[in-house]
Symmetry: C2
Amino acid sequence: MLLSMDNILILAHEDPDGDAVGSACGLCRGLRSLGKTAYVSLEHMSKHMTFLTDGIVKDDYSPDYIVAVDTAERKMLGVAKTNIPKDCRVDLAIDHHYSNSMFAENTCLDENAAAAAEVVTYILRIMNAAFTKETAQAIYVGVSTDTGCFRYSNTKAKTLRIAADMADLGADIGEINKLQFETKTREYAKLEKMALSSMELFLNGKLAVIAVTNDMYVQSGVDDSETKPLSSLTRQIEGVLVGVTLREKKKGTFNISVRTNEGVDASEIAGFFSGGGHKNAAGGKFQGSLKDAVDAIVLHTEEILGKTGRI
Amino acid sequence: MLLSMDNILILAHEDPDGDAVGSACGLCRGLRSLGKTAYVSLEHMSKHMTFLTDGIVKDDYSPDYIVAVDTAERKMLGVAKTNIPKDCRVDLAIDHHYSNSMFAENTCLDENAAAAAEVVTYILRIMNAAFTKETAQAIYVGVSTDTGCFRYSNTKAKTLRIAADMADLGADIGEINKLQFETKTREYAKLEKMALSSMELFLNGKLAVIAVTNDMYVQSGVDDSETKPLSSLTRQIEGVLVGVTLREKKKGTFNISVRTNEGVDASEIAGFFSGGGHKNAAGGKFQGSLKDAVDAIVLHTEEILGKTGRI
């Protein structure tokens, strides 16, 4: 299907993470190696990832074929920079979210893939696309970031082999890891310290909540796009089943990141906050005061844990 | 050589890290699969790793053949629990430290291997040893811990492929990662917060020093064997070329962990403190006050950075 198409625009979800950017750029470069015209448009991307998009971004492009990568639902589609409406026809979705709502005309979904970039790799291989160094870099960023650099339980043998193949194809895995996982600005380190100090435990230590307020952003000088790594801090405390990080986007609006252990369904908890995602990692939104947000999180987490006899 | 030997004792360096334990246990189990009698003896091991040693430890064993894994120098050999003297004849060293002093009768050294467990894997394959689940778990712990779960620049395509092979052979990579990299006791989280607060920057932000004092251990209730992850915190700050973590073993005695970026030689700095190690990660010791330790670190780091025009 994709093989017969041309003039392709690739979109991903809003606030694109490494897998959204990596799978979009990897796909775009792979399609170009087949002689096609293809572009990406990405909304509000972290500055750590601009090295992947060099020469392939076109926000005002009018395509013949639209592909959405790593996007589970239509409302999550990041189109703000384009002249394409949010309810546009999406011709193909390439995804790995088991919660994918099948919003596209065609969907290529592998919910066992650790990253959308893994699915993109299989598709490019089937199409006999060439993997340049740039493609390999993009795919590597996708699989490494969505697995927390191969730490999370979604990492499989095949994920590690794709990473190895991308290294052989020229991906600078050491440099990429350093940039994505091992570099904190001094400002971020300051924010992390404040965020850690805000951590509170509830429900006998089974729920940990971190709140990053507007004040903390101002005090530390950190941009919100840098703060995704904070989400993983909560889950690391021994005994914690549910870790929630609140990030105040603007006064009274919070992004909610849910991380879970031992089979607790993160997407079910995020569902209470107009969100969704994976079993172990999901996100949502809340409008109101911080206190109300925390109260709601404790309430719904207690409900979910209670339902499965974990409390 | 090893193939014709029997009644083998495997030793590693003192305070064995994941690679020391993993390569020792992997080798031991592989040798046993060939019908040999083999044991390990390990000194002061982290409790996170006891699942690897089940049934293969014998501290009072009198072997016919002694193998040292992951040990660069004779003085680092962990023999305290055995009835073997520190200056014993070591028949075979299996290692990946480029600083290996060739103290053993025979040495199998691959300084391009990310972990000693990688070298052990090649040896077991050549010997046609069977890889049971237990062997795979041990090898996986070795390669994953010495690469910071595949983050550090020593990670190569072949390292990722060995990890993938071990996953296929039954290693519970998700569980192991959770245990080794994603689990902090509440006590450790408290200590980490204190350690981060102690971080000081020197030499225009090129050197970061963290000091974990005896008081912090007492206040947090953390055992020293849990604190190795602290060493990686310093290097993560943007602009830091040398990160040093001091851990007070007993009043007035400090373990020094050096981590470096951008080609600064960590083992050269550790050399000033009767230590050694790798290009990016090394360790040493200091006796004296904390202030004297920090002064010495600043002085020697300035010297090393100055020599290569980095200051």
